[in-house]
Symmetry: D2
Subunit: 342 residues, 4 copies
């Protein structure tokens, strides 16, 4: 039985992690901390967990966390980089669902996140937890940086094309649509139901924090620099990311076969049949990425459709997938839940 702790956990990635951990037969949640909600029963805050999670939020306490085998950080950026070092030193594995260790280049991180990074050596050590890229490294890791939600959908969508050098790397476009839960559970006017429902808008077109993270991943795949235009959109739904990716083909190739082969052994990437249109609801609540490839009119533009649940394959589910790999469990353990449709 793996003993797990959670730091943070009052947000949407937190409640999703709690849901998934509660259904994982080989993990026992020992402690969950929250500076702001000390003493509050988890099930009072998240009524879906009534009868499933008996813990209350406790004061952040390194000694309590150090009793665990693994600690998840489900916190805003800037928190994990302060605590992870001590946990690692005490022999605990750390999986960060936040952004602290995703970007290797510290000045870039500091520019986009607007603060000084206090643990650059950990950022250097951390393994980027995209199993489809880094499975072997994850097995050996002490510290995992779980990818962001957009980066997961976009990287999995572009990967086979870039690895094989099949497209113009100077004009990649990712038009991404995210459900509102991607903005988190903090009180704000912009994500009120009355602001976000029944409307569609792009945001952060001039630059989004996930852009350098995605670019870092694409550069690694391509083995060369890439130019990416990334336009996120706030979509009137709770969960889901639909990334629509555009690239100009420089070589002719059987795209369907390419993707099917690349993801053949991947338990959580589903390459759909030619001509398909994946729906975000087909992955709602499931740790799954579904991809379809199109080449409209047989021209030189390839269109990749990539969908995930931002809270699962884009956050908590991927974190658990990393944990399974890290501890040598079946990678699918606790992640077999089927998407809720309708």
């Amino acid at each position: 039985m793996i003993k797990a702790g959670i730091v943070g956990g009052t947000g949407y990635t937190g409640v999703e992690l709690l849901r998934l951990l509660a259904g994982h037969a080989q993990v026992e949640l020992q402690v969950i901390t929250s500076r702001s909600e000390v003493g509050m029963s988890v099930a009072n805050m998240f009524p879906n967990l009534r009868g499933k999670v008996a813990l209350s939020f406790s004061e952040p306490d390194m000694d309590a966390l150090a009793q665990c085998d693994v600690v998840f950080y489900a916190t805003p950026h800037g928190v994990a980089m302060k605590g992870a070092g001590e946990l690692l030193a005490r022999g605990i594995k750390v999986i960060d669902l936040g952004a602290d260790f995703r970007i290797r280049d510290i000045p870039t991180w500091e520019q986009w996140y607007g603060m000084t990074h206090t643990a650059p050596e950990l950022a250097a050590e951390a393994v980027y937890g995209l199993p489809e890229v880094n499975r072997e490294a994850i097995k050996q890791a002490r510290l995992i940086a779980c990818p962001g939600c957009y980066p997961t959908a976009v990287q999995l969508g572009f990967m086979p094309l870039l690895e094989q050098g099949l497209v113009d790397k100077n004009h990649l476009i990712a038009d991404a649509k995210s459900g509102v839960s991607g903005a988190g559970r903090k009180a704000s006017v912009g994500t009120l139901m009355c602001e976000a429902a029944e409307s569609m808008k792009a945001y952060a077109v001039s630059g989004h924090r996930h852009l350098p993270e995605i670019r870092q991943g694409l550069v690694q795949m391509a083995g060369a620099d890439v130019a990416l235009t990334f336009v996120p959109h706030l979509t009137p739904m709770i969960r889901g990311i639909h990334a629509t990716l555009y690239a100009t083909l420089s070589h002719d190739v059987d795209l369907q076969a390419l993707y099917e082969q690349r993801y053949e052994a991947e338990p959580f990437v589903d390459v759909m049949p030619a001509g398909a249109h994946p729906e975000t609801r087909s992955v709602k609540g499931a740790n799954q990425c579904r991809i379809a490839i199109h080449r409209p009119g047989g021209g030189d533009t390839v269109v990749v459709l990539s969908v995930i649940d931002n809270l699962v394959k884009g956050a908590a589910g991927q974190a658990l997938q990393n944990m399974n790999i890290l501890f040598g469990l079946d990678e699918r353990a606790g992640l077999e839940t089927i998407a809720l449709l309708p």
Copy 2:
């Protein structure tokens, strides 16, 4: 391993039954039939089931169904009453998610459903599958009539009051709000997104098919006639029923204690703390009924709030719960899924 078959299964109770069965370790789905979709892969119709359900819809065929231990009917009314008899005769248990065997009084059934009942003897034999009322009878049954969605929420909400004779039986009110999935998956203008989203309306105020079913159950609980006003409302959400029940107290009693005791041993009824307001999202995807009891201003009006997921505790989940009881399994088997929130 219990071998299961499904007749119908192209609707929302069907896909939900498929999702739950796929996660039930002791059941194997053998066959699923659909007159209209013969040959269609289940996972093509319901993309959440890709990689989880390998079957295709087949022609309704008694011999194939008779290989099963249990057959679920997820069909509109009028279908199960034609096929159940033969299956029972061949020794197969039958669980009907439809309305054919819910009402004992055949003229009443015929009046509300607008057709002749072709198997009144089965309607007489069928056990009404509300485990909180009929658990012992369910254990012995061959044929289960699963309650409707509204009837489940309303009966569980009123039950303790009526069993104890605490309220005026002549003025019961059930104001019920249902998500749109209650109307099924057939093409119709009234349940288009553009008609049903961003709006609220009552419907069938002059009489809804679930009224006689609810009344039958309440009469049994009360041991006397009851007068019920039942007003269903179409609510702009996909899943969930919120029943708000009103009755006039004739006796003073500790309502909170009454409900807690009545449902103490029930695995799927959660009596919330005094003052609580259950949300339908707290049961989304889960086989759970959550109830809260209020007595505003200390007056003689009791208000009971009862929520379920209409497709789970109101349909497919309850069907599986009945199956578990029928076959002597742990009643919770395959039904531990936690609600998806947010």
Copy 3:
């Protein structure tokens, strides 16, 4: 040309008032104040007003407001009672969309709103702005207290029954469903899209601030005390209130004719044909209350369905209707907008 000012106006009743005033040919908006948004262009905050409203929010300033013929308060409770006195003294008409002057009994007001009332003499003078009840008094008023949204829907629904003394006054029930905009535009977790969409819940069952206001109105109609159970529900839509009202008939009467006669001359109350089910979307954006009356099964329970747009007939539209009456304009001026459907 009537010169109008608005105090507040950064909330949803504010933007709706702006929309309606911009379409009113006989009114010119002179000034709009907001303590928190001084200098912000109205059209920057509310992009639907780009090209329609050229003003910016200014510092609250009595001298600027005193240049107007009428000042609307679109503020939380506690603001209007501090400023209205001076405006009235300077000869300006005041229309409060907030709660400060709705309740005549000051101790009751103070109990429900949790603060000391600083202008009880104005509360005594204010006319309750429900034109269907108080049209003549409104014509003569200096100070109008616009009804709350729930109170508008519930009072218009019950009125004919209570005026004629046809129902049991001790067991009135109002089961009301409101869109999320009723909770206002302030940042809060409970009204985030991810919390409020795809879910239904009752709230404040033990007591809501609109209860004493509704009761005050019903008592006046009935000429006697009444007992009302009022259960509001948060409904996953932006706009709209659907009030479902229940009462026990004490006399037999042609309910349809009763309602049609009572509202025959009312420009903004539409009694629908017998058997109808009004939808909130049929009044979305329109200053309209639609009502249907049912007597299910011919029993002694009458069910009244009453729908409004909470931001229009429940707030800004009704405020404008009051202004029209107050200034001797056509009561319909600026209020002819047709509901947006779909």
Copy 4:
């Protein structure tokens, strides 16, 4: 007073046209026909029109229509091309909201719409009703082909770039997101609330009927051939199109100034300030296109954000705008309605 008739009118463009015509002071609706709904009161089908439109649907009848000054076709493709000729011959102006006369190349039309075109001479005569392009021709026209919804948003977004020859014409991308009302009001499973809400998907990536229409317009603007990748997405909202357009700049230019100048005199195109993100809700119910231009990171990719209400500027509003031009009225008449927000 202009006498208007409508053929069709039971769909969403129909009800929207009815709403707008009812608010147009210089138009009187004389007749509305519907083969399927003869005798049905318009206000019974569309309850927002109760008290606003007194007509009932009548049998299609050329003599009744010929009493009008202008006839709108709000019909599926294939209807207007059969009736328009006779109306034109009898001196009536015809405005088609459908697709029959949008595409000049008849074989292209026949290929995409799957039927023989019965009036190619009218397709040759028809003026494409995008006033921002064809205002002078519209003034002289007898027959107007109103643009489709996607084509309106996409053409207005690309126009200044193509007219000035500033981008690579061989790699234009239009990623467009549409509310569900774009799919019309016919019963179908795919647009049920339970299928379309809480999900996002691309569709028709291999080819959509609006593609040749958009391409025809872009070619005209560019004065040369263009290659366009057009990916429409079904978005979980009722109204609105958000087109996100991508092109590679071949010249350096002040894009903001370019767009502001191009649309300076246009009453219904709003170029937002640099850095803005238009929201579809800012045009909900309004005849408005709002555009913002971005150049992320100062690179060579230009991103244009263009939003409309698909039923207004994308259909009924644009039809009325065309009518105003055709009859020499103020182009804004009846189209001043402000968008409904929230």
